[in-house]
Symmetry: C2
Amino acid sequence: MFSVKMSDVEETIKRIQSQRGVSGIIVMDSIGRVIRSTLDDEQTSQNAPLLHQLCDKSKSVIREIDTSNDLTFLRLRTKKNEIMIAPDKDYLLAVFYQKTSS
Amino acid sequence: MFSVKMSDVEETIKRIQSQRGVSGIIVMDSIGRVIRSTLDDEQTSQNAPLLHQLCDKSKSVIREIDTSNDLTFLRLRTKKNEIMIAPDKDYLLAVFYQKTSS
């Protein structure tokens, strides 16, 4: 019931990638193992553990503030780009957006 | 040149607080000391160090990915609310938003 078919993952990635400004996508499992990435190997192996760790830290901060609360979405705006992280029970999706002028 | 007048802080807080959905604001200095908060003392002393720590962690993750990059804005969406953190050179602004139906 909780398993996700690889074809569903691919379809979701395609859909996200077609959005304007999307420069990369990493899908990880709950312990941070990369399931799928559109970044090159070097970028993937550098970014994935850092983003997984940061997402875990964010979750624990939210729960420490209120034990009955839970993180649903993390968004990091930087000088150069924007990173959105959607944690799920079994998966973690990280999407990189190029900085747009708007 | 980098000093901020308390009246400016108060004015900014008033302006943010008047926005729809804003339930609380904490202003900290760069090392996490609370300058001003609209939350009660207990909430402030619980939330401020956690959010400051998380913001620091986020900054270091962004710099580890790319040393020439920098975090400008952190947004945490949770089941119950939304927290936006704007780090600056000398200050850190955290704004709490109530969950709206939209």
